[in-house]
Symmetry: C2
Subunit: 112 residues, 2 copies
Amino acid sequence: MEDTQLLKGVLEGCVLGIIRKGETYGYEILSVMEAAGFENMAEGTLYPVLTRLDKKGAIACRKEKSPLGPIRKYYSITAEGEERYQEFRKNFKQLVLNTENILDENGKGWLI
Amino acid sequence: MEDTQLLKGVLEGCVLGIIRKGETYGYEILSVMEAAGFENMAEGTLYPVLTRLDKKGAIACRKEKSPLGPIRKYYSITAEGEERYQEFRKNFKQLVLNTENILDENGKGWLI
DNA sequence: TTAACCTACTTAGCATAACAAAGTAGTTGC
DNA sequence: GCAACTACTTTGTTATGCTAAGTAGGTTAA
């Protein structure tokens, strides 16, 4: 990412957003993020997020052998995590609206 | 703000966005931010942003007596700052699109 | 067989930036 | 005098993304 600070807070919400669509593991999340446009996501960035979410009880973990590599840690969302996700969604939307209020020059709509 | 981390990176861009509309000072920027929806912005958050932007050469500073209080520091945007602002705008738009890619459930549009 | 290259997770140390809390000061009005 | 508003400063704390390195299992081809 060009502006690393912009990612703060958004990353955790996005990871929750991916996991809640179905059980998945770190390496796969990484590729989903990249496909969504988050380029050059570092592994050292993502894995600590997963550990953090796990500690907070927002996701649950299950280990399973991979057919083509070392063991995988599969994550699924918890009720607590779903709640946290909805909260993030609300906050993010508010942030975008607020920012639009300020950046918008002609009051016509969204960015250029 | 509820989710303080979300502000990171956005704040600086917003402040630039406000200053580029016309010379202004900290206390006034604070009220514009609040009017735009950024509630409870702490002064201890904003003023360091201004100092930072000034150090980077993104804004220029001029002191002037206030008609009803201590001295004001008026800021205006520089060419360097305008460049930085356009960069932020681009990055923020990209971030919103990427996040939308992930959070969007029905592919219909933006959030609920 | 060994080197290269995927897959997959871990960890240590650093930098950034928002916040809380407190302080300093000028002005106005009770 | 003192409260309330204006206006800027500073110190210390915390969260979190990044770099850079490491560990390990599997496959493929020189």
